[in-house]
C-alpha cells in the first residue's frame, strides 16, 4: 500500500483498484459514516472534501495532498523577502552616501 495514502487517509483493509475506478466515469464513492470528512488540495489550488477512505485513497493516488503548506507559492514568498532585503540594502547605501553630506547633518 502506498504509504502516502496510509498517512493521509489512515489504515484500511480495502484493497483499492484505482484502474477500475478511473475507467468508470460513473463510479460513485459510497459515503462512509465512520470516516471523518477530509479536505484535499491539488497544485492548481482546487479543493475537495472526501467522505470515504476509498475516495480519499483515489484522490491521494492522483496526486492530491492534505497539507495546505503544499499550496504555498514559495517563489512569491522568496521574491517578497528578496525585495525587502534589497530595499534595506539600498536604503543603507543611500544613508551612507548622503549621511556624510549636509542633509543628515542638518
Amino acid at each position: 500500500m502506498n504509504t502516502k495514502i496510509i498517512k493521509i487517509c489512515g489504515e484500511s483493509e480495502i484493497i483499492p483498484d484505482f484502474e477500475e475506478i478511473s475507467n468508470d466515469p460513473n463510479f460513485i464513492f459510497p459515503p462512509d459514516s465512520s470516516f471523518g470528512t477530509k479536505v484535499l488540495y491539488d497544485i492548481d489550488e482546487n479543493v475537495v472534501n472526501v467522505n470515504s477512505w476509498l475516495e480519499c485513497a483515489n484522490y491521494v493516488n492522483g496526486g492530491w495532498f492534505s497539507e495546505i503548506s503544499n499550496l504555498i507559492n514559495y517563489e512569491k514568498r522568496l521574491f517578497i523577502v528578496l525585495l525587502g532585503f534589497t530595499s534595506i540594502s539600498l536604503l543603507k547605501q543611500m544613508s551612507k552616501k548622503y549621511g556624510r553630506g549636509s542633509y543628515f547633518k542638518k
Binding site: 502506498n2 504509504t3 503548506s69 517563489e75 512569491k76 522568496l78 521574491f79 528578496l82 532585503f85 540594502s89
Partner: protein
Amino acid sequence: MEGGHILKNKYLILKIMLLVMASTLPWFVNGGSSNDEVVKLDKNTLYQYDSLICEYSLSEFINKNSASEYNIELDKTSSIGCFSKINGTAQKDGKITIYVGSNINLDLLIQSFFWLVLLSLIPKTKKSKLRYKKTSIFTTVILIFFHLSSEGSFYALNSKIFSTDLIGNYLLYSYLLSLGLILFFLVSVIEERFFNLVNYLPFIFIFIGAYNSSNLNFFFITFILLGVNQTLINKKFRFGMIVILLFITLWTSQIIENLLFFDVDKLKGFSSSSYTTDSIFFWSLGYFFFYSGLVFLYRSTSKDVDLSRLTNNFLYSGFLITIFSAFSATGPLQNLYTYYYFGLNKRASDTFESVSGNAWRGMSPSAEGVGEFFAFTILLAITLSIKNKHFKLSYIHYLLIISNLYGLYRSNNVAASLSMVILVFCILVVYKVKTTTRNKVLISLIFFVIPISYISFFNTTSLDELNRKVIKEGLEISFINNLETNENGFSAVDQNRFLELLQSQKDLEGVSTSLTYLIEKYHYSERNNIPNITSLISTIAYPINRSEKWGIFIGKYDPSIISFTFGTGLNNLANYYLLHPTKMNSGLVLPHSGLLSYLVYIGAVGILYFIFYITIKLYKNRENYLYLAYLMFFLVNILKSDSLLYINNFILFTFILHSDQLDFKLSKNKETEAIF
C-alpha cells in the same frame, strides 16, 4: 604590497562560520514534516521512498543510512519546498540512487553566497572605486534575462515551472532580483580587493563557480559586470563592442535552423545550450564583456601582482585540487558537496581508478585541462627560482611541487609534461649557461632534435597510411552506408578509393563540407614534394594522438564559406555539433584542439587575427624569456586540447597572454614569501 595572508583576515572566524552555515543549514533546516521514523534504505524499502517524496531531509536520511551503499543525485527540477529533501529513488545495475531536491533560485542564492564569502577572504587592498555601478549591475541583469529567455529548453529541464512570461512569474522575478542583489554585494567585495584578485586567481581551479541548475558561472558573471563597467567608461572597449555587434549581426544572419537544445555537459556555464538569435547575442556579447573584464583587471593590477604569492597560491591550489579530488572519491555525500560548493561543471570522479587513456580527472571536468594547470604550476615555480636568486624554494615548496607532480601524473597529460620539462630545460640553458654559442646550439637541439626524434619515435605507421588517417576517421562517423562492396565485403572507403565517394553525389550528402574538401585536396594535389593540407593535418595529428579526434571533428564540421570564414558565434558549439548529422551526435565529443574550437567560433579570419596578435606579442617580448616560455607552453598545449573551453583554463590562458606587463625579476623586497 598591501594586504596580507588569508589567515590574517580581520573577520576570519566569522567568515568561516558563515561558510560552515552555508554548507550545512540548507541541508538540515528544511526538515521533513513527517513524524514517522526514516526508513532504512534497501532494495525492499525502495518503494516506500517513492511514495514519501519530499518528506525527509537529506540530513535525516544520512543519519539513518550512513552505511548504506547508494549514490546521491540532485533533482534539479524540485520546488523550493522540497529543496534538500529526498525526492525519489532509482535502481540501476544493482546500485540504488537517491534524488535530493535542488532548486534554481535557491542554488543561485546559496552557491553565490558561499562564493561571495570565499571572495571576501581575499585580503583587502587600497580601494578601487568603480563608476557607473548601478548601470553596470542593471545591464548585467538584463543580459542574463536574455540568456534565460534564449535557453528555455535547458531551463525547462532544470525547473518544472520555468517560463519567461513576464506576468506573475515570481520564479523569474526572484532569479533576477537575487542576481541584482548578488552583484550589488559582489561589487563592494571586489572594490576592496581589486588589486589582490590576480594573486588569488589560481584558486579558480578549485572553486570553478558553475551553478548547479543554471547554465551560468559565477566568475563569468563577475567579469561580465567588470566588462560592462569598462565599456561604459572606456572608448576602446566601446569600439570593441560595436565590432562584436557587427559580427553578431553576421552570425545571426547565417542561422539556417534554430537548435533549441544542446547538452553542454561539462562545459556548463561557459557554452551555449542552444543556437538561436538570442543565444548567439548573449554568448557573443557576454564573451566580449567577460574578456574585457579580464583585460581590465590584468592591465589595472599588473604592478600589484606579487609573483611570489601568486606562485605559492598556484602550488597551494594544485595541492588542494589533489586533496579534494581524493576526498570527492571517498563517498557519495563528499562527492555531492564538492560538486555543489566548488561549482564543478560535472560531478567529481567517484573512484580513484583511471579511465580512458589512463587518466584520472578527479574533481576537474577534464583531465587534460587540470594536467595543464599542474604542469604550468611546476613550470612557474621552477623557472621563477631559476631566474630569481631572491625566489628560493623551501622544503614546503618542494613538497607542494611533489603533490602537483602527483596530480600531473594522474591526469596523464603527456604533452603538458613534456612541454613543461623542455621549457624548464630551455630556461635553465638561457639563464645558467653563459656562452652565447652554447645557448644557440642547445636551443637548436631542443627545437629540432626533440621534435624530430619525437615524430620518428611515435610515427610507427607508413607514410601513405599517415596521409589519409584523418580522412578515414572522418568517414568512419559519416553516414555513407549505401556504398557498394566487392565480393570480399570491402567498400571503396575500406580500400582507400575515396575518389569514388566524391563521384557519388548522393553519398556526399552524408559527408561534411570540410571532409569533402580534404578528400579533394588529398586526391587532386600535385606530387611536388610539398605536403597537401590533408597530409599535413594527418601528419601533425598522428604523433600527438589526435587522428581520431580531429577526424571526428572534420567529419562533423560542415561549414558554409561564410561560416568557415567568420565562424558561427562565440561559445556556441551547438550548430557545429548538431546541424550535420553523423554517427557521433550524442554524448559530448569535443574537437580536442583550442584552434579547431575557435575555428567554429570565429572562423578562419578570427584565427588568422589571433595568430597575428600572438606573433606580435612574441616579437615584442622576444627578450622576456619567462613570458615566452609560459606563452609557448599554452600555445603548444591548446593546439591539442580543449582546455580553452573551460572557464578556469581560459582565464589562466588570458592571464598568461597579458602577463608581459609583469615584472618577472623579483626585487629584494618581493623575495620568496613565507609559505605559511
